[in-house]
Structures are given as structure tokens and as C-alpha cells.
Subunit: 186 residues, 2 copies
């Protein structure tokens, strides 16, 4: 490998960006703030990224990918496993979870790219949940499984949202409660 110095700087910048978005919000994630925290100067930042936007999008893509782990289970996962995976994501990757929620709210209003990316991801996520429900309840109609999956995924995001506000919020307990409520008859 040639010139690894630049790669390390890149990591430091992405790490700083990730933590800043979670701790201070998108609004406060300025070039200066990123560089201060990464111990780097603006010139170095722009040597590695074309724009502030690019660094943020990189981190956001990271977060979106981290939400859905184990793609090799696709088509075989249980609903409970999907919920547990999200709980693990929120609790063990708090920085990325913070990015995910921050983007869901602030990031998607002025940035069509982020908005599209997020909505496409959400859609795929709902489908994965719906498929799991259908596997466990073959008698249920497709429209119904989709609707229940939408409710569950959105509700889980609500849990993640509250966790950002209150680090003591018991994500596991509330997430599992939603799971057991998700398949109740109307």
C-alpha cells in the first residue's frame, strides 16, 4: 500500500463527522467542527473530499447499510430476528443510529439525494419485514402484511428517535413490546 497517511486522515474525518452528526446534529456539523475534532486542517479535508456534502453522504450511506445486517439471511429471517437486529444496531452502534435518525428528519428536506436514498432503504426494509410476517402467517394477505410491517418499522424508528433524546431509554424492552403487539388481530 502506498501513502497510507491520507487514508488514516480520511478515517479520522469520517469518525469526527459521524460523532458530530449524532451529538450535535446536522446543523452544527461544519467543516471547522469536523476538522477541529479530527485534528486536521480544511486543506486536508478538501484534499480527500470534494465537499462537506460528500463526507456526510458517505457517513449516511454507512449508517443506512448498518441498519440491515446479515443480508445473507434475506428471505429466511424471522420477524423476531429482524427486530432484535435493529435493537442491536441502535444500542451497539449509537453513533450510526444517531446519524440514521438525524438524516431521517433533517437531512431529507433539502437534499433530494438523501431523501431518495432514505425512502428507498425504508421501502426495502418494510418489504423484508413483510416477507417475514408472511412466512410466519401464511394466511395473511399481502396487503395486510405490508401494512403491519409499515407500522412496525415506523414504530421502531420512533423508539430509536427517543433513544437519541434519552440514552437511558430501554430500546430492547420497548422494541420487543412492539414485536408482540405487531401481530395482534385488529
Amino acid at each position: 500500500m502506498r501513502y497510507r497517511a491520507g487514508l488514516e486522515t480520511r478515517d479520522k474525518i469520517l469518525d469526527a463527522t459521524r460523532r458530530l452528526i449524532t451529538e450535535a446534529g446536522l446543523e452544527s456539523t461544519t467543516i471547522k467542527a469536523i476538522c477541529d475534532r479530527a485534528g486536521v486542517l480544511p486543506g486536508s479535508f478538501y484534499n480527500l473530499f470534494d465537499s462537506k456534502e460528500q463526507a456526510i453522504v458517505t457517513v449516511v450511506r454507512e449508517a443506512i447499510e448498518a441498519v440491515d445486517p446479515d443480508p445473507q439471511h434475506l428471505g429466511r429471517d424471522t420477524l423476531a430476528a429482524l427486530v432484535e437486529a435493529y435493537i442491536v444496531f441502535i444500542t451497539s452502534q449509537a453513533d450510526l443510529a444517531g446519524v440514521y435518525i438525524a438524516i431521517a428528519v433533517s437531512g431529507t428536506r433539502n437534499n433530494p439525494d438523501l431523501r431518495g436514498r432514505f425512502l428507498r432503504h425504508h421501502e426495502g426494509r418494510v418489504e423484508r419485514f413483510a416477507a417475514a410476517i408472511e412466512r410466519e402467517h401464511p394466511e395473511m394477505e399481502t396487503e395486510e402484511t405490508t401494512r403491519r410491517a409499515e407500522t412496525l418499522v415506523s414504530a421502531l424508528n420512533g423508539i430509536a428517535l427517543h433513544r437519541v433524546l434519552d440514552p437511558n431509554f430501554d430500546v430492547a424492552r420497548h422494541g420487543r413490546a412492539l414485536l408482540s403487539g405487531a401481530l395482534t388481530p385488529d
Copy 2:
């Protein structure tokens, strides 16, 4: 009434602020943007508000108060009525609902005042929901009713959050689905 002109300008500014936060996010809610939309100049803005912060806090307080209507029902409302009230709030006061969610995420990180205000409001809301659950299920322990209320309120916020991203999201249907799942045995 003397000098009503100022009051009208104040309304125009608050209205512009409300819509801007919902449509473009806190980040894009600048003095210039507010004034342009309100058809007013910065001098007029600062004649009526001490700071941009003050206008935003005014709108946020408005939103927080609008979430919980009919305080005269306090101590008598059913869980279903509370959920319906939130559904009505989200669908019929989209601007304020957008403000509410935007603040929940971006507003509370750097602003301890907003953060405290939001968390206090959330706590009161959970208590109100818990009391309704307890009334309908007297056999349930207090700790249990609180936990279920926390799950439900956070999950409802998740529904509201998704509605901000997708205006076609069927808030009523998903909100009611959460209600029926909220009292399922573990």
C-alpha cells in the same frame, strides 16, 4: 386596540417560521428566509423579537401545546381518545406536527432549553397515557402501565416522523394499529 400593525406582522413572522421549519427544517430557517416569506424586513423582525431563537421557541411552544388538546378531559380520557387526538393533530395541523418532530430530533441537541421543554412534555404525555391504561386495566401494575405508555407514545412519534417524510402515509390506520397492539399480553 392600539397599533395592531405590529401584531399582524408578528403573526406573519410566526406563520412563516412555522412553515419554514416544517418544509425546510431548522437548518434552513434563517432570518432572511423568514423575512422573505413573511414579506417583512429584518428591522421589523428585530422590532418584534429579541432574536431568531425567540421566534423559534415561540413556535415550538405552540407545537408542544397543540399536541395535547382538551386538557379539561385530563383524568377522564380513554386511551383510544388520546390516540385519536394525536392522529387528528398530525393530520390536521401538519405544520405544527412538523415543527414538533423537527424539534424532537434536531432542536434538542444544542439547546438545553428546548431539550428540557420537550422531555418534560413527553413525560407528562406518558403519564396521561399511562393513567388512561390504568383506568381501563385496573389489574395492571403502575410500572407496567407506564412502560406500555412509553412504548405507545414513542411508537406514535415514529408514525408522525414517517408522515413528515411521506405525506401519503396513513397516520390514522397505523396509529390505530399501534393502539390495538398496545394492550396485548406479553
